[in-house]
Amino acid sequence: MNKTDSTKHLELVPLSQRPHVTLPFFKMATTGKMLVVIALVMLPVIASGDKCLGPTVAAESYTTPEITVSTETIFISQFSLTCKNGLKNINLYAEVAGRVVPATRTKDGNKYQISVSDEHKNLPSGSYEIRIFDEEGYSLLRKAQRSGESAENVKPLVTTSINHQGVWKGTLIQTEMVAALVAVLVWWLAYTAKSSLQA
């Protein structure tokens, strides 16, 4: 066995007399040490890249206006998320009206869209709060749901709201019925006048 110079001095020394094992760090060459220090310093910077700091959201929304052409009520919210630390392309989830949906994202990573649909009676008119969660928040939310705890306590990344005006249920009386009734009324007046003339 080839013995290197560094370990030669340990060869004949008994166990009890061997020096204490030191951290591998101190055994490394200088360049190695520098790299580790740099990595440690850079860690907070790299780690903070995962979390959106100081989020602001700008949202546009659409809700179903009438039931005559829609079978279900739908809420669509399109929003853009701006992080103070310039983070993009993160996965977001939204909770609205008791439903949790993932947000689809555009290619440039800034615009998101969520949509919720249900029967007309299940989504009445009013203002709904949209709680937006990132990955971390979402997993906390799921955990809370699984353990039966209230999901209200999980703090969202940011919130926005959507206002649903309510759906128009269509006219009370059909237009042709109104037209027919008016026409019949006019004819009836003419008929009575004619009868009185012929009397």
């Binding site: 042709e176 037209a179 027919a180 026409a183 019949v184 006019v186 004819w187 007046l189 003419a190 008929y191 006048a193 004619k194 003339l197 012929q198």
Partner: protein, 183 residues
């Protein structure tokens, strides 16, 4: 009868004949056909916009049915006018004669016969006009009721072309039929 009187009587006779004949004057005829054409053109707009029939594709159909409808509606106008004219004349006779007598009372030169003739002529004219306009009003109202009921309720689920032909044809036909009642 004496010659002088014959002329006046024949004018009276003329008036009476006019009264009892179903023929209308040219002016009345023009009025009737004009109105009938307008009323028959209304369903075109209805079917174009609501039943979504293309104007150019169905152009020939629209034109043909409008002409048919115009004929029947004018026919109905004439009949109803004729029936009404006498009744109207009876009702308006008193008012017309009173008005004319008041107007001609100061005129001593006119003989009573001439005054009577004038009253008769005026009565005829008034009755004619009132019967014409009432006939147009009544027939238009009935035509529109028939059209709306037939095209929106009876033929709701049919092909638009068929809907147009049958509803216009039926409305005009029924109108003509109802007008021939003697009451």
């Amino acid at each position: 009868m004496a010659g002088g009187k014959t002329a006046k009587l024949s004018r009276e006779e003329e008036l009476l004949l006019q009264d009892f004949s179903r023929n209308v004057s040219t002016k009345s005829s023009a009025l009737f056909y004009g109105n009938a054409l307008i009323v028959s053109a209304i369903p075109i707009w209805l079917f174009w916009r609501i039943h979504q029939m293309d104007l150019y594709q169905s152009g020939i159909l629209f034109a043909a049915m409008s002409l048919v409808s115009t004929y029947f509606v004018a026919f109905a106008y004439k009949n109803v006018k004729f029936v009404l004219k006498h009744k109207v004349a009876l009702k308006r006779e008193e008012a017309v004669s009173r008005e004319l007598m008041k107007k001609l009372a100061d005129d001593k030169k006119m003989t009573k016969k001439e005054k009577d003739e004038r009253i008769l002529w005026k009565k005829n004219e008034v009755a004619d006009y009132e019967a014409t306009t009432f006939s147009i009003f009544y027939n238009n109202a009935l035509y529109l009721v028939l059209l709306i009921v037939v095209s929106f309720y009876a033929l709701k689920n049919f092909n638009p072309n068929l809907n147009y032909v049958v509803s216009v044809g039926a409305s005009a036909g029924l109108l003509a039929l109802f007008s021939t009642s003697s009451k």
